[in-house]
């Protein structure tokens, strides 16, 4: 279980996360939603120890250190691969550093996405780079796979392929914590949705519970964010002077 207890983070006085309390058990696909600068990336970076924070983050009751960090992987739209290294080089590097790195999964995903094995990453297109970033995160052998808007720049076909693959390959113990703006696309396969707004969790719901209440995820998110659907028409009226 990955647990966040009263986690807060500020950037030069501005609060990015405020008293976040969260429990993430193994074997779930969880969506993390929020507007830009809501705190999604900051939360993930705090979990990974890439940022300092106040509060406590534990993995099965233990603080996250170099001893257990291999149990968490990370795919980010900023990319965390080595641009001068080929996928083959990455495979060797990850194999050397992550004891549970799955060469089999890596090779299968490389083949599925038809990525070249011996070219340096800097020669890849943005879409290919995103795919490779995700491949690394999925192959690391981690129990918790954090993904921060990993599909920015990928076309819809590409993303759909990825969702299918993701659902097909995940083991029961693997948890995906996915931050994305593509709510409609992921609504069908996430089991839980966490909503964050201005550094605070404002919603945490099981998709199954929503369905039982006869709601869909998009409506729930809009409702929670107090989305005013009439604001566009009102703005247009003001701009054009027409009713």
């Amino acid at each position: 279980m990955l647990e966040l207890h009263n986690v807060s983070k500020s950037y030069t006085g501005k609060k990015a996360l405020q008293n976040i309390n969260l429990q993430i058990p193994q074997g779930e696909i969880i969506g993390l939603f929020g507007e830009n600068s809501a705190g999604k990336t900051t939360m993930m970076k705090c979990i990974l120890g890439l940022l300092r924070y106040s509060g406590k983050i534990t993995l099965d009751g233990e603080p996250i250190t170099h001893k257990n960090i291999a149990r968490i992987s990370f795919a980010t739209c900023e990319h965390s691969f080595f641009p001068g290294l080929s996928p083959k080089g990455h495979k060797e590097f990850y194999g050397e550093h992550f004891p549970k790195f799955s060469e089999k999964r890596f090779d299968s995903l490389m083949k599925f996405f038809e990525l070249p094995m011996n070219k340096s990453l800097s020669s890849f297109s943005t879409g290919q780079k995103n795919q490779f970033e995700v491949i690394l995160a999925l192959s690391q052998g981690a129990d918790y796979i954090l993904m921060d808007e990993p599909f920015a720049g990928n076309d819809i076909f590409n993303r759909e392929d990825f969702y299918k693959v993701l659902l097909g390959i995940l083991e029961p113990n693997e948890t995906v914590f996915l931050s994305t703006h593509l709510i409609e696309e992921v609504a069908d396969f996430i089991g839980r949705a966490i909503l964050i707004h201005k550094g605070e969790i404002i919603g945490d719901v099981s998709v199954m519970d929503l369905e039982e209440e006869g709601k869909d995820l998009v409506s729930y998110i809009k409702e929670t964010y107090h989305y005013r659907s009439d604001r566009v028409s009102k703005a247009l009226e003001e701009l054009t002077g027409e009713e």
């Binding site: 890439l50 170099h66 900023e78 965390s80 080595f82 001068g84 290294l85 060797e92 992550f98």
Partner: protein, 170 residues
């Protein structure tokens, strides 16, 4: 992973340019050291003798300039190489934020020192090599000094003077 030089450098970093700069730097520094010392040495040696046609004899009471003064800043090239190695170390860290944020991967590796090992090993080796090379050149030049300067012209305690300021001159 094959343990060649790239094993001690940031993953995927092109090392050829650095190797070339280091090699050229070491060669130029060595040549510059010998040249500078050679010019100073021959000038001072000339002053020890008087010439009468083809004959030359040591001027009575003439003393040779101290080795440390002659050697002076001969190894400045190696100091430049040393500074370049510091710059290389900074560049190795910065490499992890170019084009991607591979620093995230390096910082979340189970092996805590991997980032520093890959960023610092080669620059530190380069620094040590530059210091050892400067010291070796000092020894060679001192060998010339001891071998070529007439014994009666050498002020005693030369080696002690070298030891006293060794760190400054290499």
């Amino acid at each position: 992973m094959k343990k060649d030089l790239s094993y001690y450098a940031p993953p995927g970093m092109e090392l050829e340019q650095e190797k070339k700069i280091f090699t050229i730097g070491m060669i130029l520094s060595s040549l510059f050291s010998f040249l500078l010392f050679g010019i100073e040495f021959s000038d001072c040696m000339e002053k020890l003798y008087w010439k009468n046609g083809a004959e030359r004899s040591v001027i009575p009471g003439a003393m040779m300039t101290n080795f440390v003064e002659l050697f002076g800043e001969s190894t400045i090239g190696f100091k430049v190489v040393f500074a370049l190695m510091i710059a290389a170390a900074v560049m190795h860290y910065a490499y992890h934020t170019w084009e991607s944020k591979s620093i995230y991967t390096m910082r979340r590796l189970p092996s805590r020192w991997e980032l520093h090992r890959r960023c610092l090993t080669l620059p530190i080796c380069g620094m040590l090599i530059s210091k050892v090379a400067a010291f070796a050149i000092l020894l060679i030049c001192y060998g010339f000094y001891v071998g070529l300067v007439p014994k009666e012209c050498v002020i005693s305690g030369q080696w002690q003077k070298i030891i006293n300021i060794l760190w400054q001159i290499i």
